[in-house]
Symmetry: C2
Subunit: 291 residues, 2 copies
Amino acid sequence: MKLYGAIEAGGTKFVCGFGTGAHDLTVALFPTTTPDETLAPVIEFLKQANLEAVGIGSFGPVDLHPGSPTFGYITSTPKPGWTNCDLAGRVRAALGVPVGFETDVNAAALGEARWGAGVGLSDLLYLTVGTGIGGGGIVSGHVVHGLVHPEMGHISIPHDPARDPFPGACPFHGDCLEGLASGPAMMKRWGKAPERLPPDHPAWELEAHYLALAAGNLALTLSPQRIVLGGGVMRQTQMFPMIREEFRRLLHGYVRHPAVEQEIGAYIVGPKLGDRSGILGALALAEQAAG
Amino acid sequence: MKLYGAIEAGGTKFVCGFGTGAHDLTVALFPTTTPDETLAPVIEFLKQANLEAVGIGSFGPVDLHPGSPTFGYITSTPKPGWTNCDLAGRVRAALGVPVGFETDVNAAALGEARWGAGVGLSDLLYLTVGTGIGGGGIVSGHVVHGLVHPEMGHISIPHDPARDPFPGACPFHGDCLEGLASGPAMMKRWGKAPERLPPDHPAWELEAHYLALAAGNLALTLSPQRIVLGGGVMRQTQMFPMIREEFRRLLHGYVRHPAVEQEIGAYIVGPKLGDRSGILGALALAEQAAG
């Protein structure tokens, strides 16, 4: 069996792993400090195994274009020390194996497609709702990243100030999806961290409304065979039935398919890999990089 | 050189053609009446040529899933006589060649990708704005059609009733994109057909705003390398500069790429194939079907 390496590069920690698949992954965590300090133990950990390839799902913004001189870089991040960091290149140089590279949320989408809620499907949408909101799409088995990479968290959705006077928390767009529905947006609107709001608080109905609007727009655009909603805010699983119902109400007969009309409980779901979507997506990237 | 056949199946006319590519297409038009009456001259016309395969871009809704028992059918259309019409099957049976099948707007997207504004690009968005609004996406060279097919015209966008008190014209969703910005929506709002509104009428600024909102959402979701805006309403070419400016204003630094930041005139463009995007897309489908 071939061994693959995986790195989920996050702003606070790097999750690293190696294995042959989802069932035998050995994992280690390292705090994110400077690139040198962070990558040294990551490389040391991965050197234990005789790897065919490594996959990286990274925080961003990143350059995903193989032809670009900064391919595999973290580019214009505000995170100190990481601007123009050649993450993929450093890992490749240190380990001497092919390296696959994607955004963190694209990797998570790929992880769910390979071993989780999207097994057997060619078209999948993964949306993470937490500190930020991000989306990864799989179309005909390919991760969506054309000109740059999707920024689904920043789509514009209807916002009725009579129902929700909160102006939105996005520094770039005010009341875009992330500005209305991220964890920090909830915190600002209600004055409490989302996990401290009781399950029957009206916050959840409003949140479900925004996420249903987003899921509807994304479904009308990408036509996924399943929608996976993950991230910290979606641990509030009471929202799933509310989102499903609101999604159908808003679509009003559009997306005519039994998956939506009769089996929506299997259409809008949580991640099957829990919080391992990202690291297993990185492992799937390694498989692809090995060719 | 191999000869291919093409059918652009519309609600009022069938455009048919055969040729080896965009430069030598022989075209004929037949009015859409009943399936029998319409298909007889279409088949007769295509039988003139010794075809390798035929491609069809069809009005819908259609079934695009090769595994489905109704693959290649027009399914639940309100158009009399066409419900459950096995369009692809009838053409295949009559001509004895492989048949490629897509929605009309997916075919137009493919046509622009193959011979028009998207040549050399792997990721393209084509949006048509006319009697309805529809979008076709190409991701990594593949036409987007997962669960069903996209219905990008029906995405929800912000609608400020203080700026635009018109409630929207979509019978399903009221003020979705199509409800706010299609030709019929403009006609209802202003009491005049769009082509009769002067180029400096405030209608065009509002229309450009809605189309920029839509283009922004679709770009944040699909990350296309270029956006092609076609259809009757886009013949008002004074809108292109307005849409480009509003697109950048609304994105506010998102989609950081020279294509958007420095060369937006080449990023949001009209169709290069004029009104031949659809029929040439059908020809591209025939090429694909021939394998």
